[in-house]
Every structure is written in C-alpha cells, then in structure tokens.
Subunit: 206 residues, 2 copies
C-alpha cells in the first residue's frame, strides 16, 4: 500500500487509506486461509494460525471474521471468484475454435491449492454440523458459476438435448481428475485423458 | 458360525473353528472400520472405536491390526475387493450390449459408504506422513483393478488409440460424481449425466 499523497482533506486522507488497509488485511487473511486449509487440512486450520500466517493480530482477524466457519467459507468463495475471473480473462473471445484449450483450463481449476482447500472443507463439512449448511450452499453457488463459465467458453448450446449433461459430466470429470491428483502428481495421465475427452466433447457439442 | 460337528480329530476340531473365528473377527473389524471412517472421518476413527463397534476387545483388534494405519488401509482394500467381486458378478457376460447399465454400476462404486471412507482416508493421507505412502500405494492398486474391470465389462478394445484414455476419463467422472454426492443427494442430476455420458462412450468405443 502506498503512502498518503493527498492532503486536500484531512477527513478523506484519513478515511480512504483506512478502507484500503482494511480491504488489504481482509484479502491477506482470505489468501492465508486457503493456503492453510490446502496444506494442513481443516483440523490444522484455526483463525489464530491463519492470522499469524497473514501477519495480522488475532483480534483484527476476528473483527473481519467472527467465527472459524466465516473465515474459511469466505476464503474458498473469494479464491473461487478470483479463479473464475482469471479463467474468463484467459479466453476473452470464448473458445474461438480451441475447445481443447478451454477443457484444459477448466480441468486446471481442480488441480491447484484452491481445489485442495475446498476438498478439505467439503470433507470436514460432511462430519461437522455447524459447517455443513454453509459449505453446501457455497458449493452450489460456486458450482453454478463454474457451469455458466464452462457453457460460455465452450460455446455450448444448452437448448439442444444432452448438452447440459455433457458439460456437467465434463466438470465432474475435472473434479475427479483433481481428486486423483491429491496424493501424487497425476499430470501425465491427466494430459492424455483431457486430450481424448476434449476431442469427444468437440464432436458431441457440434 | 456353526457349531463343531466333527469329532474324529480333537486337533482338527480345535483348529478349524479357531481359524473361522479369527477370520470372522477380522472381517467384522474391517467392515466396522469402513463404516466408522465413512461416518466419522479419520479424526474420529481409532482402533478402540472400531473394536467397540465390531464387538471385539481392543486387544483382539490389535492382534489383527497392530496400528491404526494397518486397520484402515486394510479395511478400504477389503471392501474395495468385495465391491469389485460383486460388480463382476452383476455382469457375468460383460456388457452384453448394455453399456449404460455398466456405466451406472461403475458410477455406483463411487457413491456409497466405501467411497466416502476412501475419501476420508485420502484426504487424511494428504496431510499425514505415516499414512501417505500406504494410501498412495493402495489407491494405485485399487485404481488399476477398477480400470481392468471397467475395460472388461465395457468390452473396450484398448489396442485402439484413445480407448484407454476414454475409459480413464469415465472413471474420473465417476469419482467426481461421488464427490458431488458427499454433502447432498445428487442422484437426480447424476442420472442425467450418466445417461448422456454412457451414450457418448458407446459411440466412442464402437
């Protein structure tokens, strides 16, 4: 964050950087929370651990996120939105004839730290009652948005029978590939699967 | 377990039921371990909890499985083998023209308590060093066997280019569908995806 360079209003100079600071702190906490979940899982992820990682006091962290559930569901949602925006930016003209590149980019959504973090959150939610409704709702929202992006980028015509289910199956496959990458680097096998199914998908969508 | 009905050899009468008893105890422990993992996750799954659930003393449980890792990896492997055998038995003549039924049965492998238990084990292994190599090796072995069954039942000719990757992608999709079913009952959506992808697969394999 830069130093304050305007002094035409003490009030404004005082207010704006405070908002900036607050936003930057929030963002640091969210990014630290996803990294923490991905590395240590739900059991090892507390507000204190994340605050320390983000270089923020525990009190400041709790000001932004009163509960552990607030922090981690907000974190997964925030990073998922960042990734969606980045994905759309990668293909400003949509698939433009290169569906294989789009399929590869969609699959990439499920192989990084975000997917790993989300997976820990889902699995924890399946056993913890206070987490479950929050994560279920989050998953539905992120899933709908990812589906929308996939349909747009693949130039898929969902008014045709079967097209919706074809795109859904592709995203299920991407999620399954993410899971297969959890314990070992599955990149070589994944590349072959993506190439083959991108070709099948191309036929199915035209 | 039946009573001892032969008395022509005290030695034999004494030995056989003991082996039976031991095998039955082992099996009860393995089944209880998978149910426990599926319901309570890794953190809530200890040898003591499983022994109690199986109605076996903690000492007897530890005689069969000296460590927690031994018990839970053996349990997931045992139940996976049981399911593989049951799946082959469902289609004694292979696909016999009904690939859609085979796809549905393959997907079913990933939506029950076994998948839920395996998922908890995988996720725990991603953060626990003493569990990780065991689970990685187990996952590879079970994955190879499931692939072999899928190829057989689908009558897929892997000597043709792309067929291997087509079958792999199907199993990745099945795994992703299992994950989507973790927090909510995803059966309705899943049915549509399975029908559509079975049709795509049918075209791709012929």
């Amino acid at each position: 964050m830069g130093a304050v360079t305007t002094d035409n209003s003490v009030d404004r100079a005082d207010r704006v950087p405070k908002q900036d600071r607050s936003r930057a702190t929030r963002q640091r906490l969210l990014e630290a929370a996803v990294a923490c979940l991905a590395e240590h899982g739900w059991a090892g992820s507390t507000v204190s651990v994340v605050a320390e990682r983000a270089g923020v006091s525990r009190g400041a962290a709790q000001h932004h996120f009163p509960t552990r559930e607030d922090l981690f569901t907000a974190a997964v949602e925030y990073v998922a939105e960042e990734r969606s925006t980045a994905l759309r930016a990668l293909f400003p003209q949509g698939a433009a004839g290169d569906r294989r590149a789009v399929v590869a980019a969609l699959v990439d959504l499920y192989t990084g730290p975000l997917f790993r973090a989300a997976l820990h959150l889902w699995v924890a939610a399946s056993n913890e009652d206070q987490l479950r409704p929050r994560v279920t709702e989050l998953e539905a929202r992120v899933g709908r948005e990812t589906h929308r992006i996939a349909v747009d980028l693949l130039a898929a015509d969902e008014s045709r029978p079967g097209v919706r289910e074809t795109v859904q199956g592709l995203l299920d496959m991407a999620r399954g590939l993410g899971l297969a990458n959890l314990l070992t680097d599955d990149g070589g096998r994944r590349e072959g699967v993506v190439a083959q199914w991108a070709a099948l998908l191309d036929e199915a969508l035209d």
